[in-house]
């Protein structure tokens, strides 16, 4: 197995401390513009994926 897992105890997008954890995990890909997939089945896909996508795209994530 070469994959990695970052298991976060809890955070919310609006919390100021959430972003560094996500950035830490994305950096593990070793890619400047990692392709990121969001899975929101735990909320029956009610989480605002569009908001996340917009936020992410503004910082160069894709």
């Amino acid at each position: 197995v070469t994959g990695q897992i970052v298991a976060m105890g809890g955070h919310a997008l609006e919390e100021h401390w959430s972003r560094p954890l996500e950035d830490f995990a994305l950096a593990l890909t070793g890619k400047a513009r990692p392709r990121l997939l969001l899975l929101a089945q735990a909320t029956a896909e009610r989480e605002s994926m569009s908001a996340r996508s917009t936020s992410a795209s503004q910082t160069g994530r894709r």
Binding site: V1, T2, G3, Q4, I5, V6, A7, M8, G9, G10, H11, E15, W17, S18, P20, L21, E22, F24, A25, L26, L28, T29, K31, P34, R35, L36, L37, L38, L39, A40, Q41, A42, T43, A44, E45, E47, M49, R52, S53, A56, S57, R61, R62
Partner: protein, 163 residues
């Protein structure tokens, strides 16, 4: 950034979508429901395949504990053990260790008194980084937030690097 709906399927093949990404973020919510719908659509196997190919899997709360064999969840109301996680990581897991008052006593009781598998816990704003099945380090973005190993005889706070 891409999202993948399994409640309202489109023409995309979930396996293909999952495998074409470098990183996959799983949101919090109901872990039991999450696992059930993944299994209905085969996403569980695809996520395992992505992991073996080198993808970075990440998530918070339900998105933390789904990767382990067992966990503590409120998926059915009261906090209770869940024993059918994906099993990419061995042992058990508990999120919101400092964020919800009943998490810590429930997890430690299950492990130390009721034969639940030993495992890891993480405070809000803390995370555990695994490479393969090996723990690399614990990190946090809030001073004082930590991760823990909970065994049959003790709870051990892990060195946690502040990002």
């Amino acid at each position: 950034v891409t999202d993948l709906s399994l409640f309202s399927r489109d023409e995309r093949d979930p396996r293909a979508v999952i495998l074409e990404h470098d990183a996959i973020f799983v949101s919090g919510g109901n872990t039991a429901n999450l696992l059930a719908i993944w299994r209905v659509h085969g996403a569980d196997a695809s996520l395992r395949e992505a992991w073996t190919r080198g993808a970075v899997l990440m998530g918070s709360s339900a998105g933390m504990i789904c990767w382990f064999e067992c966990s503590v969840t409120d998926s059915f109301g009261p906090l209770a053990p869940l024993r059918d996680g994906l099993g990419l990581l061995s042992g058990s897991a508990c999120p919101h260790y400092d964020g919800e008052p009943e998490r810590r006593p429930t997890f430690t009781r299950l492990v130390q008194q009721e034969g639940f598998p030993p495992g890891h816990a993480a405070d809000d704003a803390a995370a555990l980084h695994f490479s393969g099945r090996e723990l690399v380090e614990a990190v946090a973005t809030r001073p004082g937030a930590s991760a823990y190993w909970v065994g049959p005889d003790a709870e051990i706070a892990l060195p946690t690097r502040l990002l």
